[in-house]
Symmetry: D2
Subunit: 143 residues, 4 copies
């Protein structure tokens, strides 16, 4: 994967810092490189659904946003990224203290990118894959 | 669609009231009947992504949770609902003061249900379809 | 929905007639209008999977191709349509003599369209919804 | 991944040999092990769509059926596998002489399994990833 933006790290940091929703959620950008991005979330009671598991919407948000970060590492500086669609399989009820997400770009087109995201949950040292998503993202001219 | 639970309204209210994540989000259950459910969200700055649109994760959360509500209208009183997977198409950048979601069960199986959710955004009286999702949900024995 | 091609019927007929795979399958274009398309397939033993149901791949092919036809009604004469992605829920095992598919465009963008397809199976006069799909399609400059 | 069927190879061979649709398509089972399956297809003109690419329905069929094969390696001898849903991203127009598909089970539940499939196209020695799918499959009691 070849980035078109030597300052891609700043652009991706912007995707995480300027997004009010993921800021409020507590999602943190942890690492990145051309074509991939990682994030983590410290799980709190406010992230849970009615039966005590991490809400599918939380997992979906992390998977989507981190996929956007992975796509963001490859875009030109004047482009923004918007999600066209994503699909997520919730593989097991998500429980734990920490969620970690790694997103990887599968295909870099001129205007569309496809990325996949894996969401892991851990309590202590044991980490389990709890969700897997694939997303189509559009590279658009920024404002 | 035939419900197996004469007190389904209470069960679905529980899905909305006990879910900390959608409570914090501000999602409100507005109406329901056997096989369908509606919810709404008053859009605030904390729901936005980095470019000022409603975050895809917010739309996904609403679509998923309301699909769970629609499935919940059909379950037995001792069952809970868990999302197996969902896919969402973000049809246009979501802007507006209010999101409304209507979810409908397409297929009621013994242990699996399939529902679709439409998310609409409005400013004043004009309402637009901004996202459409389909979800597979599992009916499980509750605790 | 507004078509950009007064001769869209010819363009969509070409999508069905020139596609060797759907020709061999026996898929027939039955009706169309701006933003929608219908097709049908007479079910034969060669369409079945190992347990006697219509193969998911047959249902997926019909859903995808008819979505392409629906998108095709809206394109300019010099454009071709390619599927970016689709998702299909197989709602019940498909049995019957005839499959019918109706695809509708949900969103017409400049370069991307989103359509949904419903696949029905019938034996005699009773028709059942057996699958539902949503597809993202790209409008590209033709050769 | 642990299989529940010491004679899983026969069961999976049956999935390929008894499925009329994939037989007619020309899909061949090439290799398997507990939790994974590989297949290949020699591309012929009858597999193409209207613009000369391998039809998305062909790619979807291969991805779905091979995912079923991967799930089949883990089932009990008295169980059959049915696709609940799948989603496929067509990453680039598929051209070439040969398609190869590798499917891997991501999650083995009691009644549901999730698998992902990668479809590669090649001409000569260069092989490219052309599609990626994730599928939810149900393990059902056979007849």
């Amino acid at each position: 994967m070849i980035t078109q933006n030597p300052r891609y790290r700043e652009s991706v940091r912007r995707i995480f810092e300027k997004a009010r929703f993921t800021e409020d959620l507590g999602l943190e950008l942890t690492e990145m490189g051309p074509g991939w991005c990682e994030s983590s979330l410290s799980v709190a009671p406010r992230h849970l659904q009615q039966d005590g598991y991490v809400h599918a919407g939380v997992q979906a948000t992390i998977a989507d946003h981190t996929a956007g970060g992975a796509a963001g590492t490859l875009l030109r500086e004047d482009q923004i990224v918007l999600t066209v669609e994503f699909k997520i399989n919730l593989l097991r009820p998500a429980v734990g203290d920490l969620l970690r997400c790694r997103a990887t770009v599968l295909r870099q087109g001129r205007s569309l990118l496809v990325a996949e995201s894996e969401v892991f949950a851990s309590s202590g040292s044991e980490e389990k894959l709890v969700a897997k998503a694939t997303a189509t993202l559009a590279a658009l001219k920024g404002k």
